[in-house]
Amino acid sequence: MKIYIVIHNLFLILGVLFISQIGRSASKSLLSTNPFLGIAPQDENYYKTSSEIFKCKDGSKKLNRAQVNDDFCDCPDASDEPGTSACPGGKFYCRNAGHVPLLLFSSRVNDGICDCCDGSDEYDGKVKCPNTCWEAGKVARDKLKKKIVTYKEGVTLRKQQIEQAKLAIAKEEEELSKLKSEEKILKGLVQQLKDRKEQIEKAEEKERLQKEEEEKKRREAEEEANKEKSKAEKEANQEKNEVKEQVGSEEEPMESTHDDKIGVLDQDVEEDKSNSVAEVEHTDKSENASPTDGIEQHAAEGKEESPVVHETDLHAGNEVSPTSDQATKQENDVAENTEGLSREELGRLVASRWTGENTGQHTEEVDAVKHDHHESHEETPEDTHAEEYDGYASETDDDSQRYDNDDMEDPVDEDFGEDDHYDSSPPYKSDTEDESDFSDITSTSNPSWLEKIQQTVRNILNAVNLFQTPVDKSEAAHIRKEYDESSAKLSKMQSRISSLTQKLKHDFGPEKEFYSFYDQCFESKENKYVYKLCPFKQASQEEGHSTTRLGRWDKFEDSYRTMLFSNGEKCWNGPDRSLKVKLRCGLKNEVTDVDEPSRCEYVALLSTPALCLEEKLKVSSFYQMFNLLFLSSALDSPMVKCCRNYNRN
């Protein structure tokens, strides 16, 4: 029955082609009528000797000639049964005239499945295999033709690219050396301006000191008074805070007092501080916590939540609420206080042991599905949370041990994730920013900008008198401005130099054929994921707004036929992610077939003209294939002729 399906399909392919009739009669050849069945042409002489004694190819045994292809395995190397299935591990040769010959495992002989397109592997009469070699051969020929055409075109494209790359590299090298010499000059100018600026500043400082001396006394008195006042304020606020914590309210007041006090300080510093404070507090909590009743549990949770909100606020702006929710959940995971969990959270938590996903992610996934299917609101986490909390928090238990255990494992993991998350995008963007910013200095068409600066500096240095007090305000401003502009220009120039140096250090292939990849990223969409490959930089997988780094650029492998991105984000219970990109000849740069054959080890195909090597067209395998498909089967003769020839054989 199953076999008929195959045959049926093959017939469909063949359609009304009368070739099938001929094919069928051809496949009926029986072992008895052809004692040399399954023997490859290069072996024929070995079998066709007239001697009555046959020696196993490995020399281990001498047999009677009648024992060759007698459907009983005698030789340990299977050489006495090339045409039957008797020897495990033997090989059966099918000629497949009109297509390419095939060497099959002997396990395929007379197994009821047509493997050779000429049907010669099935001769026991159990199934009938039509000869499909001409059709299959034609398909293969067309494919090969197309491949050759592609290759030829690709070779041309590749040559062009190599030319362009060489020009571009030369240009960049030239630019680099020019930049380097200009940098030297500019450095000198900036130094001069700096010296002058410092002189002016010294004079100004002197002026200011005099002024300050005059008001010193009065100010000292004032400051004394201020200090007293702020101390009192601080104490009052702290008390207030403690009270609020006990009640379990939000944490905002504490934040605002910080703001009041150190409002002048840099934002970041402030954030960091409050974070670390909150973190200490939080670890304390989770170590001691044995939530014995619902209320206290709630309170603890509220506190845990706040630092997290804080953090996400800092990083993610408007995505605050979902993320913080998720984070809270993760923290619950860490503690594994299963009793405090809602039914749903518990379900997710237990499921996550098998899946390895943290429950937060799980929520996202399941929720996404839910949105698709418009599920009832009852099932959203928030609702059940509130509803079922009190009911299941009422049992005491000895979970304190587990707090300690699990606390240690998960945060590490999460830190990893978080870090990587924010790491991943900037280098990508900053490159392009750099590029646009350089327009003013890189423009080789305008060589005079440096001269202009030189001129200006000379003018300034000449015009301004030294050590005049009081300092001429406009002159000082002018110098400062010039200094700022020049040093900004210098640092831009330096960063351009370093990025060019970086770039030119890369291995662009033996003929610089991969040069054009440097500023390119290739994308491929597979189901819900978008894969982004930026050669020499990094590769990532994007799903909606979340980005996972699959790897940083590592190197070419396999003589420039594979690109390797390694050290991607860590996998739960698995290795760091990595991506191998196999390159093959194609007319466009195109990523296809991204796959994850093993956990967190990705592979992708990238077709590119860079791989269309001229030598390859001349390589023997190509030729062999070409010969087999085109020359040996008499391309231009009608198929009937071809197959008659085959029959006569």
Partner: protein, 926 residues
Amino acid sequence: MAPNINPTLPLLLLLLLFTLHLSSVSAWKKEEFRTCNQTPFCKRARSRKPHSSSLFATDVAILDGALTANLRQPPPESPDQDQIKPLLFTLSVNQNGVVRVKIDEDPSLDPPKKRFEVPDVVLPEFESTKLWLQRFQTETVDGDSGPSSVVYVADGYEAVLRHNPFEVYVREKQGKRRVLSLNSHGLFDFEQLRVKQEGDDWEERFKGHTDVRPYGPQSISFDVSFFDADFVYGIPEHASSFALRPTRGPGVDDSEPYRLFNLDVFEYIHDSPFGLYGSIPFMLGHGKARGTSGFFWLNAAEMQIDVLGSGWDAESGILLPESGGRIDTLWMSEAGIVDTFFFIGPGPKDVVRQYTSVTGTPAMPQLFSTAYHQCRWNYRDEEDVENVDSKFDEHDIPYDVLWLDIEHTDGKRYFTWDRVLFPNPEQMQNKLAAKGRHMVTIVDPHIKRDESFHLHKEATSKGYYVKDATGKDYDGWCWPGSSSYPDMLNPEIRSWWSEKFSLKNYVGSTPWLYIWNDMNEPSVFNGPEVTMPRDALHYGGVEHRELHNAYGYYFHMATSDGLVKRGDGKDRPFVLSRAFFSGSQRYGAVWTGDNTADWDQLRVSVPMILTLGLTGMTFSGADVGGFFGNPETELLVRWYQLGAYYPFFRAHAHHDTKRREPWLFGERNTELMRDAIHTRYALLPYFYTLFREANTSGVPVMRPLWMEFPSDKATFSNDEAFMVGNSLLVQGIYTEQVKHASVYLPGGQSWYDLRTGIIYKGGTAHKLEVSEETIPAFQRAGTIIPRKDRYRRSSTQMANDPYTLVIALNGSHAAEGELYIDDGKSFEFKQGAYIHRHFVFSDGKLTSSSLVPNAGRTLFSSACVIERIIVLGHSSGPKNALIEPSNRKAEIELGPLWLRRGKSAPVLTIRRPNVPVADDWTIKIL
């Protein structure tokens, strides 16, 4: 193996906790599951003192061919104690040495509710084997003050009911030696159902879950003694030694009892009495002195069983008759009734025959399902499937079944496909089928609560879900999120479920698709102990606590029936289940669940599968390679070499593990794994014959050594080696980098190394060199094993291939064996459409005769011939053999024992006898 569970347990846990820190891999969550002390009925029963039962039998009579009595208690000493209502006692006898004892509340005394009696487990045919008792004798047994009632059981056996104190036992008629007894230690206790009164607080809380227990405590417990037993075995499923170690008694510190409670246990450990996915409350005792006996309690509630180490009752000071070699056990169950079966043996095969006469013999499997299965969570999409499939061909490795785990569905809605990943499932299956291969998809009992999911809508509107204690559809959490569970206890719901497997209803299925039932304990991620609450309600007001251990059984049954229906009764079902209960053997295969890729778990797979086989579930195996974690290559190869002899041979892996298909570990390892798989394929005719033996007699495919050598004491606790049928002995290799292994070969006859043909003496342990090529395996002298030596892509293509017979001669130059053949898939064999040959070699002559009754009819024929006959242990010299009746000669030469497999000394080979396997013939060595 560690000699004692208890000291190692805490240590193990410590170790586990430690590794938890290091590798950030979590492990067995012990504290999520109840201990006996946290389980009130278990705690109560365990603390009861011997002879605390004061029951006595009155009103002994014969009623409906059975011995009946009332069990009463003396009136309470103080009036505020409850007066226990009399219990109804029934003892009936069935053919072939089965005694059934039932004790229940008397329905005529108005109990609040009928206690649950597990339906559909005992075969309907069993009832017809009941012996209609006519009378009983009364005698006063020596040393007793009161009378006992005695009835006939079988030739040489009697059942005895001692009236006061109440005790039941089976004894030998001659010499009155006891075989099995119940309540000899007076631990019997039966908590009767009560109606809740004001102030009764029966609620039980565990880990935030509350069990309302509307009928109060209702547990039952009693002691059972196995006489003349050196060891007891059975009561799966536990990851522990085969011979059950004592859980109480002198020298045993603080062990849990063996627990029978179907649970989905994450990362179970390899040496624990902890309850796993399935439960079979059937225990066997075996000893050198008498033989084997068995005890089965048909009860699906949570059960805890203590094996009491000798001397456990030293304080009671009472010695039972023949107390030497006796093993006492304590059985405790949360609910249900006493419905117990005593099996008198006396041989091990007699006991499994007796047990399967009650619960059914294993189903005859599809031939393909006895071959190799390739599974992984998950083969991602159609392309992945195609790649894996073609890689097997590329490496000339046969396989028969490719499996798809949960991710193939649309959002874990079973019976659906993720159409992005699997746009053309029929086409995919047809492609596999064109190579004679099959596919298995997973169908679990949790149904996604999604209004747009037709199955959920239908089940909701028909009221087909299990209800919670308040009567609403029970809502639990599993893979799809919020889920409900069809109430498989109800035959109507089972029938509804089974319709879902029709080709029309299961869109995207084909006739080549079979089913895997996972998570049917049932697993409920947010339920107490990761399962359903005990107070959930089933059909007929049955509480989940009463039927818990059988939920998976009914689910398996309904699925299996579905496949039978799909095939119009013409295609044998294949359904793999994780949960099981007594009787599951009738519905398909099981496996040992989510094991781990380490050497200890490789080792424990043998006692686990042996235990399953002994208790009826012969079609079982463990995940080859280990489900969790990445096996080292050597472990993986060893696992293939061992797994090739599991009755159910499947490789499986967790989705976080690296790919581990057999070709991924370098040429040499591919070769080793290919060779292991080929060994299984070569032995498929032998395996299939054994499956048929199991199907007719209940005797398992994979057997403990003592089943074949019941009086060889050295085999009784050996669970590193096992028999496949009566002819093959296999010893696993359970440690890495070993150069030598000690293998005990039992019996008086010799053994032939399966690979090399080298002969070894029986009855002694041999220190053998171990190579990476194979694990030690031996053919027993005096046996004939049929093989098919040609390699194919799958078992399907082997149908027409010729056979090889391997004759291993014993000391008297004789041997015998069997070969069973049928169409491999239909039920026609039940009408006699099969070939069953008996091969006997003696006096230099091999004779093939039929074992088919009415051999004249040929309902099934085969054109297969025997192409090669290998005779081990025969002197070389003869050159020819004469084949009768065709009067032909066949050449005799020295040939290899295996083609293309290592160098072995050449063995006597009859070349191309080409006798039809279906015919009668003789071949005489000249």
